[in-house]
């Protein structure tokens, strides 16, 4: 290796070092500590760190509730991401046509994203309140039956997904708008001359060219959805029953309500593992397409 190359690498590490050190401090150490706990007998009642191998993992994976939570998390995340992507793409495509007041629309559309999930959940809890909430009051005023949005186990999950979509779509709009803005103009003109109408242009040009940005938007949102916790905590606490108990909430309950912090950590680690696998898979897919 030449001196120049070596110096360049050294300088690179030099610049990255402070950031890496900070990351290690606030992310690496807690992560490692959690891993240690998940492999130990430690509980809130007996907080000693004695290694127990994979026993905690085996235990939670033998429980039907864990598999129920995992399945629920998958359903929740996939449904939310599909909704966010379709609506987000639609809005981004419409915004692309808008010239007047474009900045205003962007500002309004990004407002939900700027709000804390807890605030969003609190607002929706008021709106969805079964008797006094504005939504049910409106339904009643129109002579329609009132709905127990969060108390009915058959629709509580769908309600949560809808709220999630309401808040998270704006991020997808932003990402896809940036992607659309960076698309070259020429292939569209070529397609116009080639005889492609608006729908054919969307299907054969826009969608394929937008694929890399779409993949990134989907990965980021999937990760986000897998981690969903605040909405559940404020709105349903996993209920009614366990009908909205996502994996993150399962881990929380196990650690802080059941006081089995070792099993809670194991569940959290499994969640992390799933997210890692999804991320690696998507980027592998993206790289393969590029090649």
């Amino acid at each position: 290796m030449s001196v120049i190359a070596r110096n360049r690498i050294r300088a690179g590490w030099g610049f990255a070092a402070p950031g890496l050190a900070m990351l290690a401090l606030v992310m690496g150490i807690p992560l490692f500590y959690a891993l240690a706990i998940s492999l130990s007998t430690m509980t809130m009642i007996r907080p000693e760190l004695n290694l127990a191998g994979l026993a905690n993992f085996a235990k939670i994976m033998s429980e039907p509730l864990f598999w129920h939570s995992l399945l629920l998390t998958l359903r929740y995340s996939v449904a939310a991401v599909i909704g966010e992507f379709i609506i987000g793409l639609g809005i981004a495509l419409m915004l692309r046509q808008v010239i007047a007041m474009r900045g205003f629309y962007f500002a309004v559309l990004t407002l939900p994203m700027a709000m804390s999930p807890v605030a969003v959940a609190l607002i929706w809890r008021m709106l969805l309140q079964p008797n006094l909430g504005i939504i049910n009051q409106s339904l009643a005023a129109m002579g329609l039956p009132m709905v127990d949005w969060l108390g009915d186990s058959s629709i509580a999950l769908s309600t949560l997904i809808s709220i999630d979509i309401w808040q998270q779509t704006s991020f997808v709009v932003l990402l896809l708008s940036a992607g659309l803005a960076s698309l070259p103009r020429e292939p569209y003109e070529a397609a116009e001359v080639d005889g492609a109408g608006p729908f054919a242009q969307f299907w054969y040009i826009t969608l394929p060219l937008l694929r890399p940005v779409s993949a990134i938007a989907i990965v980021i949102q999937l990760i986000n959805e897998f981690r969903t916790y605040d909405l559940i905590y404020v709105l349903t606490k996993g209920g009614p029953g366990v009908s909205t108990e996502l994996l993150s909430f399962f881990a929380y309950k196990r650690a802080f309500q059941g006081l089995q912090i070792n099993e809670g950590s194991a569940a959290a680690f499994l969640l992390l593992l799933i997210i890692l696998v999804i991320t690696v898979f998507f980027f592998w897919l993206l790289e393969r397409r590029k090649a």
Partner: protein, 367 residues
């Protein structure tokens, strides 16, 4: 019938800004018409208006017997080769070529036949399954051409398709395009800012400036008889020498005074330019008409050598006269003075051009 008729077309961008203003031009069936001009002259805009990619704010366009002014691009049956090629980056070469036919519902067997034929003409067979990103500039250029060919359009529109190629490839593609035009016999409109492309490829050239047409005609005719100083200067490199001049006398003896060049004009020129004797004029001399040796029709001009480009087959010599007038000459390869040398060149007045100083129009065109 696939002649193209532009009838007083304009592209008004609002607030008095025009891309193209009141342009009328008829391009004959099967003709290779070159739109030539500097950046911003409206040549690409004109082409895009024919394609339907640019709005026409006034005037009509007909392709063949059809008035296409209001038609979208897909209904005009034209094919466009873009400067940037505008290939679909996510499709293979084969899919790029197929797309237009697919959109028009051409049967698949026919699509395959046309792709195979175009690929064989353009030498693209080995690359049919590659994506544009894996091709060189020249290959992409061919794919863009192939995509236009397989559509079997009435008209080919090409927007500076050679400008992104290196000099050698550009020369080759120039010849290939001319061959292709002869083979297909289709009407082609070719936009360029390169006068060499215009001279070598066009059946006729149309020189544009500031959104309007300056002159239309076969290349050699335009070269020999430029309508004004703009055309005279644009259609050659080095540009035509232009020197403020005045004439005195009559048809029997007409004397020219143009900076360092002065003397009697040959009888033919004297007869042609007699009327010019009343007002200020501009003398135009092409570089190849400034000679290193005197002849019967030359007038001498002396100066110091300030430009000296030996091109191998010929030399470009630039001199500056005592009056501060610069003059360029294209000389034989044996005439190669050193920088700063005092030399005497010889302006061939039998090949002179004369323009009116007030508006730059050629005197010979004013009858």
């Amino acid at each position: 019938m696939t002649a193209i008729t532009l009838d007083s077309i304009s592209r008004d961008y609002g607030s008095g800004l025009y891309g193209v203003r009141d342009v009328s031009l008829t391009i004959d069936e099967g003709e290779f018409m070159v739109l030539l001009g500097p950046s911003g002259c409206g040549k690409s805009t004109t082409l895009r208006m024919i394609a339907g990619l640019e709005e026409i704010t006034a005037g009509r366009i007909r392709i063949g017997a059809r008035d296409v002014t209001e038609l979208p691009p897909r209904d005009r049956n034209v094919a466009v080769v873009f400067q940037s090629y505008a290939l679909y980056p996510h499709m293979s070469v084969r899919e790029n070529m197929r797309f237009g036919m697919k959109m028009r519902g051409t049967p698949v067997a026919e699509q395959d036949r046309r792709i195979a034929e175009a690929a064989s003409i353009l030498g693209l067979e080995p690359y049919l399954d590659r994506k544009p990103g894996a091709l060189s500039g020249g290959q992409r250029q061919r794919v863009a051409l192939g995509r236009a060919m397989v559509r079997e359009p009435d008209v080919f529109l090409m927007d500076e398709p050679l400008s992104n190629l290196d000099a050698k490839l550009r020369g080759e593609m120039r010849q290939e395009l001319v061959k292709l035009h002869r083979r297909l016999g289709k009407t082609m409109v070719f936009v360029t800012h390169d006068h060499v492309e215009a001279m070598t490829m066009g059946d006729r050239i149309c020189i544009m400036r500031d959104g309007h047409i300056e002159q239309v005609g076969p290349p050699l005719e335009v070269y020999a008889n430029p309508a004004n100083t703009f055309v005279a200067q644009f259609l050659a490199s080095p540009a035509m020498n232009l020197i403020p001049a005045s004439l005195a006398g009559d048809a029997t003896r007409l004397t020219l005074k143009a900076g360092p060049i002065s003397g009697d004009l040959p009888p033919a020129q004297a007869a042609l330019y007699t009327k010019a004797a009343q007002e200020p004029a501009i003398l135009g001399l092409r570089a190849e008409d400034v000679l290193s040796e005197p002849t019967a029709s030359t007038l001498p001009v002396a100066g110091k050598v300030i430009v000296r480009e030996a091109l191998g087959a010929e030399n470009l010599i630039g001199i500056e006269t005592a009056e501060g007038i610069a003059l360029s000459a294209r000389t034989g390869r044996d005439f190669l003075p050193a920088f700063g040398d005092q030399v005497t060149l010889h302006a061939d007045m039998a090949r002179m051009h004369l323009f009116r100083a007030s508006d730059g129009k050629a005197w010979s065109r004013q009858g």
